[in-house]
Symmetry: C2
DNA sequence: CTGTATGCAAAACTTTTGCAATCAA
DNA sequence: TTGATTGCAAAAGTTTTGCATACAG
């Protein structure tokens, strides 16, 4: 049965993640939490994130070229990652057709990972060129 | 200018990766290479993979719940990952519409990550149920 | 010859685990 | 009370780095 318990740590971890819009890695989230709550340990952050992922409270996001990131927004959506600075933003869900050849797999889901230039980097690039 | 040099190690690493269709992690690729060429070091495998990724000779594939994987197939394509056994297969590219709201980003590309059941796991599951 | 590339060993990280103490229910 | 949860420290695993040597061009 293993009833789950509510602890202050869990509340702080989820709150902090939801407040951060940057899709932090576990380590980044720990750093942020540690600033305000130095007593919360790294292992608790990792353990609680794993639990919350299982429970569907948070989403693990794996984008190229970085450790796993976490997202407190579990409503179906996609991500776009700035190829210049690495920032990650949420963008709306888009319906995608299934490919004709699925290599024998039965498709159950998908996500789209967009890459692009974030607003800041667009400006920076425009300035550099122009 | 830093001219790049051709070495036997580079040849072996690329050959082995292309021959493996399993989208191995750097560690898995090293194990396979090490079996036939025990003298090639782990650091060379990591270094060469990084270089080849920069040169566009191989692709780094990041799918949820595993270390980065490498793919010797650099022709534009998508991946599907079995949610039961973790196997990864190539599937054809699919055109995707851009979302209306791009969070201010300028979209330059995208990939679709499908999840599903591989042929073997479909059979296994059918047997389990039926 | 020159300086890139390699192998080795150590370092740097990230994530996981064992365990005694703590505390939510 | 009692067993899930925590913090600590150590372990495990992956990737990077410093450096002397080897070798491609």
């Amino acid at each position: 049965m293993t009833a789950k318990r509510n602890t202050p740590q869990k509340g702080i971890i989820l709150d902090t993640l939801c407040r951060m819009r940057s899709h932090p890695t576990a380590g980044e989230l720990y750093e942020e939490i540690h600033r305000l709550h130095p007593s919360i340990s790294r292992s608790t952050v990792y353990r609680v994130l794993g639990q919350m992922e299982e429970d569907g409270l948070v989403m693990r996001v794996c984008l190229m070229g970085s450790d796993d990131r976490f997202d407190g927004n579990v409503i179906r959506h996609n991500h776009i990652r700035c190829c210049r600075c690495g920032a990650v933003a949420d963008i709306p869900w888009v319906e995608v057709a299934h490919p004709c050849d699925t290599a024998g797999y039965e498709i159950t889901g998908y996500t789209v990972e967009y890459t692009g230039l974030c607003p800041a980097c667009r400006k920076a690039q425009a300035k550099q060129i122009g």
